[in-house]
């Protein structure tokens, strides 16, 4: 059952990722990316991490992608729909990057392939267990990240408030 769900989700994930890359229309690509992010949320659910899965939907699909779509629509990118011929630089660099990426991913799969998942602990994936971990074991990193977010927010507000002179 879980295996079937995994393969269906993985198929959706790869298919939507291919659409993101190949589609020239920025809005279609953004919609496909949203689809991709929801599929990843589905994968989290299969791994019993329901809380993370729903946060993935709320934060990425529900907020960040909507903002990206918003900006694309405001800019009204008509030029991007037309084909842009790739330069020589891009032509040479693209296969090299792809090869490098394949090596990294292949190495990671090779190293972790025989290992299995650790035993599921009681209450795994619930908001309560995640909260307990965040506020005890990972307290300082958690606070550091929240500080970082506040700084980013203040920066954004300052940038938006600055008068265009």
């Amino acid at each position: 059952m879980e295996l079937i769900a995994f393969f269906v989700l993985a198929l959706l994930l790869i298919a939507s990722a291919i659409v993101v890359i190949t589609n020239r229309n920025p809005v279609s690509a953004a919609v496909a990316l949203a689809f991709n992010l929801v599929s990843i949320a589905g994968l989290y659910m299969v791994l019993d991490a329901q809380f993370i899965g729903l946060l993935q939907v709320i934060v990425y699909a529900g907020a960040i992608m909507v903002l990206i779509l918003f900006v694309i629509m405001l800019l009204n990118l008509r030029e991007e729909v037309k084909a842009h011929p790739a330069g020589t630089f891009q032509r040479v660099l693209a296969p090299v990057t792809a090869l490098l990426f394949a090596v990294v991913i292949g190495r990671a799969v090779w190293l972790t392939a025989p290992s299995t998942f650790p035993e599921k602990t009681e209450g795994f994936g619930t908001a309560a267990s995640l909260g307990k971990e965040l506020f005890t074991r990972f307290y300082y990193p958690f606070e550091a990240i929240s500080l970082l977010l506040v700084v980013a927010m203040i920066g954004a507000v300052l940038l938006a408030k600055r008068k265009l002179s």
Partner: protein, 370 residues
């Protein structure tokens, strides 16, 4: 095994069936409500030999026939695929959100225990917000795919509005989650089964006498959160006074200006399904869900009588909220866009944060909460 699957399938079917039908009837209630509020006779044309049947003729025959027989027009310069996808994406979240809302207590039938809730997720409320946050795609994509200035403006307005009010909505609910100590909607409904007097400290004699007889519903424990949540819910369903994305006096019909026939019906039904879901959610969070609001000793023994009364109580409370939506719609004028943004970010957001801080203090000192 087969019976268990049948029960789950029946619950799922019942919920989708009920949401869609309530959405249809609500379309008629809205017209009747407008007539009532504007002191005229309204929505009395659709009848069979003079029989109007409480809007059933309207919702079952006249509306679908009219919508489904109209030409389905797709703008030639628009995106055909996305133009068709958008109404589906607008309707889908509104239909699936109801899955986590409990419409009754756990009932026992023979040796089977049936939870009157389609999906008992331990993070039910987050599921509601996840689906709610996907609702904006229908508007944005539909607006863009129509290739029309007015619909694009409507879509841009809609996405900014929904993201802004989602923040206040989420923050106002956290107070409720703190008081009842759970993310599970069935548990929240169960937590509202006591009276306020039962958990106030013994020394608070006066408060106990004054408000102790009230049921421990969210609206009494978190009144500010209720106001904030209701306001945000009206904004999320894009209804007057927050119907800027449609704003027909400025941008014709906003994001669905290029939609006709069945696809327009899907947007239309999606809006009403959202109202049904929002009403059910507010009932669960703030009005005790399926609780009757009576002290436990007055209730009959668990049995079909009690379960039936609880389901009836849930439906009645939901109907009240649905009427409240219609009432607000025909009473208030539309906001200006800057007023909308100011209310969301400078009004609702600070208030919900303040509510959160006060609730946190009260929970820590054990005045409310479990």
């Amino acid at each position: 095994m087969i019976v268990d699957i049948a029960i789950i399938a029946a619950k799922a079917f019942l919920v989708v069936f009920m949401v869609l039908n309530l959405a249809g009837v609500l379309g008629w209630v809205e017209r009747k409500g407008s007539a009532l509020i504007q002191d005229r006779i309204g929505a009395n044309r659709a009848s069979i030999f003079g029989f109007a049947g409480l809007g059933l003729v309207n919702t079952l025959i006249a509306d679908p026939l009219k919508f489904l027989t109209k030409e389905d027009f797709i703008p030639p310069a628009g995106d055909k695929f996305l133009h068709t996808l958008a109404p589906c994406m607008a309707l889908f979240p509104a239909l699936v959100t109801f899955a986590v809302i409990p419409f009754g207590d756990v009932l026992t039938w023979g040796d089977r225990v049936i939870n009157l809730q389609v999906a008992n997720l331990n993070i039910g409320i987050l599921y509601v917000f996840a689906m709610g946050s996907l609702g904006v795609y229908g508007i944005v994509i539909g607006a863009w795919a129509s290739n029309n200035k007015f619909s694009l403006l409507g879509g841009v307005r809609g996405s900014a509005q929904m993201i802004s009010y989602e923040v206040a909505m989420g923050l106002s609910v956290i107070g409720i989650l703190m008081v009842y100590g759970t993310l599970e909607l069935q548990e929240i409904a169960r937590g509202q089964g006591t009276l306020i007097g039962e958990f106030l400290p013994e020394s608070w004699r006066f408060s106990k006498a004054a408000i102790g007889w009230l049921p421990a519903w969210g609206i009494f424990l978190q009144p500010l959160a209720f106001l904030l949540f209701f306001t945000a819910a009206v904004a999320e369903t894009k209804r007057v006074p927050f119907d800027l994305p449609e704003g027909e006096s400025e941008i014709v019909a906003g994001y669905h200006v290029e939609y006709s026939g069945g696809k327009f019906l899907m947007f239309f039904a999606g809006e009403f399904a959202e109202i049904v879901t929002a009403a059910a959610l507010m009932t669960t969070l703030f009005l005790g869900g399926w609780q009757l609001g009576l002290p436990a000793r007055w209730l009959p023994e668990p049995g079909w009588l009690l379960w039936g009364a609880q389901i009836a109580a849930f439906v009645l409370k939901m109907a009240f909220f649905q009427f409240l939506f219609v009432w607000v719609r025909w009473t208030l004028p539309r906001f200006r866009y800057d007023q909308l943004m100011n209310l969301g970010w400078k009004g609702l957001l600070p208030l919900s944060l303040a509510n959160l801080a006060v609730t946190a203090i009260l929970v820590v000192y054990g005045v409310v909460g479990h």
